[in-house]
Structure formats: C-alpha cells, structure tokens
C-alpha cells in the first residue's frame, strides 16, 4: 500500500523535496525520485514499496557478508525493490532498477516468520534498504522488542537524520564503500563518496557493529594506490573494522571480465598493511576467508564455503593463544 514518507519538506505549489538521501530530489506533483519508489502526489511524498517483498530466505550470516557478528548463524534475509544509486555493475539490478513481482507483507508477519524459523536475526538486504526506510524502521522496531537483532546491508547513501533514527534499532551494518574516487562514485554509481564516508563514521560512532565491503571493479575503482587511501581512512577510524574485498562479475551494464585473482590478492595485501581483518569474497579460497589473530597469527575462525568453525576463539571472543579481543558479538 502507498504510505506517506517520513522524510520530506514542502517547497511550494505542491512541489516537495525528499530529504531521505543526499540526492534530495525536488519533485513536482506526479513525479518520482531517482530511486523510483518515492513519489509526489498532490504535495505529499509517498513510498511505493512499503510492505512489498521481492525475496525472503534464510541465509548464513557470512553471506551478507558479516564475518565478525555471531559467526555461523542463520539470518532471515528480506528485500524489496528500488535503489537510490545506479551502479552500472549492480549485482542485483533485477530488483534494484525495476519492479519485479512482489508479495505483500506487514512488519509483524516478518517478525513472526523470523521467530517461527528460530532466527534471532533479520537482514534488510539485496536491493537498497534505505529506500524501504519506513518498512525497515517499523519492522526493526518490532523485531528489537522481541529480542531479534537487525542487520542492514546498504550503500550508506543516506542523510544523517534518517540514519540516526534507523540506527536506534539496527545492530549491525555492512556498508558498500565503492572505492575511494569521487568521480567513479558519481559517474558509475550516481552516488557521492563523501556522503557514504559520513554514514560509515556515524555507524561507528553509534556503537553499531560495522563491516565494510568494497567491490573491486576492473578499470573502475581498482587502482591500488587509490584504494590504499581508503584503507588508511578506515584504519584511522578503527583498524579492527573488517573489510571485505569482493570480486566483481560482469552484470547489468558493465561488461569488463571478472576481477583477476592476482589483482584481488595484491589489493588484499595492501589492505592488510593498514587493517587487521581483511577478507576476499567470491574467490572461494579458504586462506582469504579465515580469520587470523593479527597479533600472534593463530587461526581463529575457519570458513570453508559457509561452513564456519570457531577454532581459536574463547567464550569471551578473544584469541585463545594471546587473549587479544577479536569478536564483540558471538
């Protein structure tokens, strides 16, 4: 059902400005925003995807990816349609850039499904949960009351005020940081690097568990020196923030061949110079998915596919050998 959006301001003559994401679309009567799911009708901003579900599944939490948040658990993952960015290499464009078949649900239903499946977690993922704001907010509030933890997998392209509100009931976030190049962000993704950086800082400061993913796009954002700036910047916030370097595959409007393995490994090695926990996704090589103690090198968590084994971690989340703190949530 259409529902009034929470964040917008009235300008004049039924023209309004959406204040949910940094696009801050100015919309005349009858117009939709860049995301395609927010629309001005008679001077009121409506969301068009409230309660519209495009997929629902139980996934390993590692698949989100989240590697340092309750490793080895299963998480109910849901998504709708629409996205406020337009990445030419989007890996989920079937639901981010068009409206597929949907199922209607309400927040209670989602919470009940999670409980019936014994899932203590709900992930808002696949497309972009920011443009599902009201539904994510309502569902996460209800879920939190039932002791369920909420996880946001997002591009981080959101204004500070709505992010602050949402973070009150979100327990973990994985933000896609699509490189460290403002031009790449604008041209290939229709986003803004600075806004995403601001979100990352806000999530960290709110004390919400944070991991970062960077998809390495050949001839796009794959300059190692440029990426090093990203790694340094993350390390300046906290070198313990887990970073997932993800392998790109041709998709949507981007036809470059997949990221070469060697490239990923050299980026990984550069990242490790600054960050304590770096992983490579979509390479399926155990070596780059395991967690090792940054102090003593002990193997702590073994990941083979989605098989997860906590081998070197004690109940407090510390390295069994040298007692270095590794996990806050397990």
């Amino acid at each position: 059902m259409v529902r009034e959006a929470l964040f917008y301001e009235e300008l004049n003559d039924n023209t309004i400005r959406c204040t949910l994401c940094p696009h801050r679309c100015v919309l005349e009567d009858g117009k939709k925003g860049i995301c395609g799911v927010r629309m001005n009708r008679g001077g009121v901003l409506y969301t068009l995807n409230y309660g519209e579900l495009t997929s629902i599944a139980m996934d390993p939490i590692e698949k989100k990816p989240l590697f340092h948040f309750y490793p080895g658990t299963e998480i109910l993952s849901i998504s709708t349609w629409g996205c406020n960015m337009k990445c030419k290499f989007c890996q989920n464009w079937e639901i981010s850039q068009q409206r597929p078949a949907v199922r209607r649900v309400d927040p209670e239903r989602i919470v009940r499904i999670a409980m019936e499946h014994g899932s203590k977690f709900i992930a808002y993922t696949y497309n972009e949960p920011i443009v599902w704001f009201e539904f994510v907010l309502d569902t996460s509030r209800l879920a939190a009351k039932e002791g369920i933890r909420n996880v946001l997998i997002t591009n981080g392209f959101i204004e500070p005020e709505p992010l602050k509100l949402l973070l009150q009931t979100i327990h973990a976030v994985n933000i896609d940081l699509k490189g460290f190049n403002e031009e790449f962000y604008r041209k290939e993704c229709l986003g803004e690097l600075e806004a995403v950086k601001r979100s990352i800082e806000m999530v960290y400061e709110a004390g919400v568990h944070l991991e970062i993913t960077t998809l390495i796009v050949p001839n796009g954002n794959d300059n190692v020196n440029e990426l090093e700036e990203e790694f340094k910047w993350i390390a300046s916030i906290d070198p313990d923030i887990p970073l997932h370097i993800s392998r790109y595959f041709p998709n949507y409007k981007y036809t470059e061949p997949p990221t070469p393995k060697e490239k990923l490994i050299s980026i990984y090695e550069r990242a490790r110079e600054h960050l304590n926990f770096v992983y490579i996704g979509n390479l399926w090589d155990e070596k780059y998915e395991n967690t090792y103690c940054p102090d003593c090198g002990e193997l702590l968590i073994r990941r083979v596919g989605y098989d997860v084994e906590l081998v070197g971690i004690d109940e407090e989340g510390r390295c069994k050998r040298c007692e270095r703190k590794i996990l806050k949530h397990l």
């Binding site: 059902m1 529902r3 009034e4 009708r41 209670e108 009351k145």
Partner: protein, 345 residues
C-alpha cells in the same frame, strides 16, 4: 432506371444493410457475453459477528469455502477476545486477580499490538478502558452516568502500564480490565485476508466488519474498490456517505460516536472513552484511518478521539496512517496524504 425499379433497389439495399447491422450487433453482443463470462463474479455473504454486520465479498474458484472459513475464524476470534464471555481468554485474564495467566501466540500478538499503539500514542489508545466500559454500562446496555467519585475510583484501574507481559504470560496490575474489542475485530479482518489468500492466491474482494474494512485484492483483479465513508449524523441504519475513497489494497477503519451511545438530557454519551478523564471523549465525532493493516487502522481511529484534531493531523501519518476526521461542528478535516485515496488510480 425506372422509378419502381429504383424503389425495389433501395428496399433491397435497405434489407441488406439491416442484415449487416443485425449481424454486427449479434457479434458485439456475443463478444460482450463472452467477455462477461471471463470477468470473475463476486460471491457476497452477510452475517453478524462482533455484535456487528459483517460483509464478505470474494471472487475466487473457492469463494464458498473461503467465506465459510472466514466466518468460522471470525466467530472464533470474537469468542476468544470477548471480555464478557466466561470461556474467553480475556475473561480469564481479567478475573485472575492479578495472577499470571498463560496465553497463546495469537493473544500475545494482539495484546502486543495494542500496547504498541498505546505507547506510541501516549495512551490515547488504551486497551485497559474495560473498567470504564463497565461503569458506564456499555458492556450490557444498562447505560448510566456515574458520579464523579465513581469515575475517579475507576480511573485508578485504567492505564496500559498495568498490563505486564513476561514470555507467554500476562498479568494485570491494579485491578485493570482488558478490552481489546476494536483491535481484535481489526485483527480478525487481517486474518480473513490471509485466509482468503491461503485458499487462493488470486482471490480478490474485501471484508467489511462494521466499518473495519480490509481489501483482499483489487476489483476484477485491477480496479479500485470504491468505499464510502458514512456521514456520522445521518439517520440510523442509513448508508449516506460524506466521502468516498478508492483502494486496491490495505485497510480502512471508521470509528464514530454513533456506533454505540445513549442520550441523556439531550447529551450524547458514546463508547469511546478518554482514559485520562473517564468520560466519553469529545470534540471528534467520527475518525477514519487508512493503514496497512486493519488492526492498525482500527487502533489509530480510536486513538484520534483522544489525540484531538491537531495532534492527529500531525502524528497519524508518522504512525503509518492517513486520517479523515469529522469534528463536533460537522467540519471535515483530513491529513494531507489522505487525498491520494480520494481519486481513482
């Protein structure tokens, strides 16, 4: 050409035209009837549940079974949540002297929803007005105006903070009494939609339980349902409307001071109580809310009576609804977003 031949010719021509036209007309009619056959027909059934008229309109191959299942489920919910039926779980909670009572998931669900709305509306919606309902005689129709002292006493037992939930147990403190009436009815409508969809994903239609309406699916699979909002000051049992809305999904609920009331010394006393004053709330005579679910719409419509006009117009959209409100002076007010539903799409 001679004149006679010409007339014959014209007459014959006319005949052939008439024949052609008749043929085309028959063809059009055939196409019409053929297409009529493909439009799904609606099965309609009316009954009385929750002490009110319930109307079920369904189009589906399984319409008969769906209607039966819905009615059965509504009666079940009615019995289960009726605070004055000794077999009901609400009766048990209300009469347990503050002891913990174990309840099932369904009761927990409805109760938590009620408490959620109580919380976000700052108590404008309150599921513990049961003591007031009884005091004013709305439970059995023995209406009376209690004394100020009686009301003051009753108010000590009112307040949603008196409801405690722990795991699957519920207890009431301070002699509070639960009355989940409206929200349970809304919940029954939401369930009815689920039941229809479980039988047949493609089912369309709607359910109207005394002004709590939930849409199963758009009319003929694609059009809006046109729903009238009742004029709160029209003659008893009439259907005169003051507005119409167009809906393909979602729910709409209207609460009015005309639903249950008595008149004493020219003054109207109705069934929606202000949990702060202990008197029927005044200022608003009818409130309609459109929301995602019928339970939400019902709770918000009730809350409006106590939130008052200004707060309602400001906050109902934040709570996920759109509102249409009639005040005592017969003026109509609406949240800005309500306009969306006043036009067909």
């Amino acid at each position: 050409m001679r004149k006679k031949d010409f007339e014959t010719f014209v007459r014959e021509r006319r005949w052939s035209w008439i024949l052609t036209y008749t043929f085309i007309a028959i063809l059009i009619l055939m196409v019409f009837f053929f297409s009529l056959k493909r439009v799904p027909g609606y099965s309609i059934k009316e009954s009385v549940v929750f002490g009110t008229r319930v109307k079920i309109v369904v189009s589906s191959k399984l319409a008969g079974r769906i209607i039966e299942a819905i009615l059965q489920d509504m009666r079940r919910i009615d019995r289960k949540f009726d605070p004055y039926d000794e077999r009901s779980v609400i009766y048990r909670i209300n009469n347990s002297n503050g002891e913990w009572v174990e309840v099932d998931n369904e009761v927990l669900f409805v109760l938590k929803k009620a408490l959620y709305f109580a919380e976000i509306t700052g108590g404008a919606f309150d599921p513990t007005v049961g003591v007031l309902v009884k005091l004013w005689g709305f439970n059995d129709g023995n209406y009376r105006i209690p004394s100020d002292e009686e009301i003051r006493d009753a108010l000590k037992h009112v307040g949603y903070e008196n409801v405690e939930i722990s795991g699957n147990k519920v207890r009431l403190k301070n002699g509070a009494l639960l009355d989940l009436g409206g929200i349970a009815k809304g919940y029954a409508v939401d369930r009815a939609i689920q039941i229809a969809k479980r039988y047949d994903q493609k089912a369309t239609g709607f359910i109207d339980a005394g002004g709590d309406i939930g849409i199963i699916g758009p009319k003929f699979g694609g059009s809006d349902w046109v729903i009238g909002i009742r004029n709160p000051r029209y003659k008893e049992n009439s259907d005169e409307t003051i507005d119409v809305v167009y809906m393909k999904d979602g729910a709409i609920a209207t609460s009015g001071d005309y639903e249950r009331y008595f008149i004493k010394d020219g003054k109207r006393y109705h069934h929606i109580f202000n949990p702060k004053t202990g008197y029927p709330s005044h200022g608003i005579i009818s409130a309609t809310v459109i929301a995602q679910s019928c339970a939400d719409a019902d709770a918000l419509a009730t809350a409006i009576f106590n939130l008052g006009l200004d707060y309602s117009l400001m906050y109902i959209p934040r709570f996920g609804g759109q509102a249409f409100i009639v005040t005592e002076d017969s003026k109509i007010h609406r949240t800005k977003g309500f306009g969306y539903f006043e036009k067909p799409h």
